[in-house]
């Protein structure tokens, strides 16, 4: 009998680790608490705390004579955002973010579709590598590389000259607003580089969404009489929409906040990120910098609310 009693429990030496494991097994909520404590502290205090501090700063104002911050609650700083010069910056940034997002989505969709439906085995790995690899090299190196590509003496001009098509580029550059001395100092250049840099963030969520659409669903649509274009509009796109929205959240918010690309490539006109950088650094106007920083947060809030109302997350 003693033999069978002993065989029920593994007779191993009970170390501290073993006893800890036993305690956590008996109290799963304790384990959950211990696992969540560090990230909650990090998110709650360091991330949300600083965000709250930022929000607080935006309700203060600066004394323009002394350059000192006046710690009294006021909406004056927010009113300053609506002066023509500042509002111009916001409008320009939002427009750029919107154009970048739409262009990324249009370019990314076929790529993601190919990756999700047709790429198999090794090709799939190569494909992932191709999408991810640009993310491995330095952001600054990529942007300077683009500056060289787009510059007046750059490879693009050279290639177009070889094809006797430089008149096309010249005609484009002579257009108002989008044109300029060369692509590298034009709004178009900024746009191209934004689209390039954020593209993987659009491709991957769309691909993930498309992978969840079974082939039989597309076949069913065709079976019920829908031409491929109709299948795209009524079935594939609505089902991929959560992925498109997820991707657009990346491209849109990343463009809203970026201050390096427009500084290196494009005109001297400011974007929100640059305005924040200048106001908090050079000008010492922390409240206005904070108010500028709140703008993308508010815009993204409205964007998500609108996307939800449009039913972008219904298929989730």
């Amino acid at each position: 009998m003693a033999q069978t009693d002993a065989s029920l429990v593994h007779s191993r030496s009970e170390g501290l680790g073993a006893r800890l494991s036993d305690t956590l097994w008996r109290r799963p909520s304790l384990l959950l608490f211990l696992l969540l404590l560090p990230p909650v502290l990090w998110l709650g205090i360091i991330y949300l705390g600083s965000l709250f501090a930022l929000l607080l700063q935006s309700f203060f104002s600066i004394d323009h004579f002394t350059g000192l911050i006046n710690y009294e609650f006021t909406l004056r700083t927010y009113a300053e955002l609506f002066t023509p010069a500042n509002f111009d910056i916001i409008l320009r940034t939002v427009l750029m973010a919107a154009c970048t997002t739409v262009a990324s989505a249009i370019i990314a969709f076929p790529i993601a579709f190919y990756a999700a439906r047709y790429a198999k085995g090794r090709w799939r790995a190569v494909f992932y590598l191709g999408i991810m690899m640009p993310l491995w090299s330095s952001y600054l190196v990529k942007i300077y590389a683009w500056k060289l590509i787009l510059a007046k003496e750059g490879i693009l001009t050279w290639a177009l000259e070889g094809l006797h098509l430089n008149w096309l580029l010249d005609a484009y550059l002579s257009l108002p607003v989008v044109g300029g001395n060369s692509l590298s100092v034009s709004v178009t250049g900024t746009f191209i580089v934004f689209v390039y840099v954020w593209m993987p963030f659009m491709i991957l969520p769309i691909q993930a969404a498309l992978e969840r659409v079974p082939t039989s669903m597309l076949e069913a649509s065709g079976d019920l009489g829908a031409r491929p274009g109709q299948t795209f509009r009524h079935v594939l796109f609505p089902l991929a929409l959560p992925g498109v929205v997820a991707g657009s959240i990346f491209t849109f918010s990343l463009t809203l906040g970026d201050y390096i690309i427009p500084q290196i490539i494009g005109t001297s006109r400011l974007f929100i990120g640059q305005a924040v950088y200048q106001h908090q650094g050079i000008a010492g106007n922390i409240p206005l910098a904070a108010a500028f920083a709140v703008v993308p947060i508010v815009i993204m809030g409205f964007y998500l609310w609108g996307a939800k109302r449009m039913g972008a997350f219904d298929a989730l």
Binding site: A220, S221, D223, L224, G225, H234
Partner: protein, 328 residues
């Protein structure tokens, strides 16, 4: 006129001959079952009719019309998919009305037609729900309504009952059969379940290795299999090898005998050793070994039962031993 005609149709995927020289004619208004083990080419045949696959060679005609170059959306054929393939972002009514919407019908008209179709599959009042809120059996009916609302001339069903539990499956078998009679539409039904094929179909085609092995009425397939494969797959019949049959009847051909037709007797033409018994409720299944051949008998519960290891004599009525062709 035949609803669907296959004329030496093949579909190869690389070196794999999924469908290999199949010829067949499905008559209008018929409930036709394609039966076979997985990978036997039956589903590929269905997809060839729907237009999801194109034949490598051969002709397919639907109501006399060549369809090799017609994409699925131009064929007057609808499919009930194995996974139902309901659109998750649309509610049940819009799912059913999808084909009518594509055909350009107005909202009011198509919703009315969709509600009628849902009524027909006994899902009236479910129109506003999302497919994710339905049970498997209900989704199955929605898929059926979505196909039937378009009034197809041929309805294709790809293992539509495979995901349902036994009770529901039996109920759906009867409903499907009833619907088919009521609508008079040609049904082409793919299944690997022989019971399903036999109970529902007017005619059954048995597939193996991309070929049709035998086509016929369920009784023919069940009682008069042409070859050992059909005897074994369709009815789990006992297959007696040709040399054994030669000794019993003088004809050197394989033969089939149904397990329920084997009887125990004092004296019989075949003596066998009992190797196992299992209780099935209505019957007891007894396994035998006779001269190197494994046999099974289903004995009613009131019959005297042998014990394992006994040597018994087996007998059968004259017509129950069915001679087949050699091969396959």
């Amino acid at each position: 006129m035949s609803a669907v005609v296959f004329d030496h149709v093949s579909r190869h995927f690389g070196a794999v001959r999924a469908v290999d020289g199949v010829s067949l004619a499905i008559e209008e208004g018929e409930f036709f079952a394609m039966l076979g083990p997985s990978g036997s080419g039956k589903t590929t045949c269905l997809r060839l009719i729907a237009g999801f696959e194109r034949p490598t060679s051969g002709d397919i005609r639907i109501f006399g019309e060549q369809v090799a170059d017609l994409p699925p959306y131009k064929r007057h054929v609808n499919t009930v998919f194995q996974d139902y393939a309901l659109f998750p972002h649309l509610n049940v009514r819009d799912n059913v009305a999808y084909g009518l919407m594509i055909a350009g019908q107005g909202k009011k008209q198509r919703h009315q037609a969709a509600d009628e179709a849902l009524e027909m599959v006994r899902l009236g009042g479910y129109g506003a729900r999302k497919p994710s809120e339905l049970s498997g059996g209900q989704r199955q009916r929605v898929a059926l309504a979505r196909a039937l609302v378009n009034k197809p001339r041929v309805l294709l069903l790809d293992e539509p009952l495979g995901a349902l539990d036994l009770k529901l499956r039996e109920q759906m078998q009867e409903e499907l059969k009833g619907l088919q009679r009521q609508l008079g539409i040609t049904f082409v039904f793919v299944t690997h379940d022989q019971g399903e094929a036999l109970s529902m179909a007017d005619r059954v085609a048995v597939f193996n290795d991309g070929k049709i092995i035998q086509v016929g009425a369920p009784e023919d397939i069940y009682f008069r299999p042409d070859v050992p494969f059909v005897a074994d797959f369709v009815g789990s019949s006992n297959v007696l090898p040709a040399d054994l049959v030669a000794r019993l009847t003088g004809q050197s051909r394989p033969a089939a005998i149904r397990p329920e037709r084997l009887k125990l007797a004092e004296n019989g033409p075949l003596s066998a050793e009992v190797t196992g018994l299992s209780f099935l409720g209505l019957t007891t299944r007894v396994s035998f070994e006779a001269e190197g051949t494994r046999l099974t008998a289903l004995l009613p519960q009131d019959a005297s039962r042998p014990a394992k290891g006994d040597t018994v004599a087996l007998t059968w009525a004259e017509g129950d031993l069915h001679l087949m062709q050699a091969g396959a």
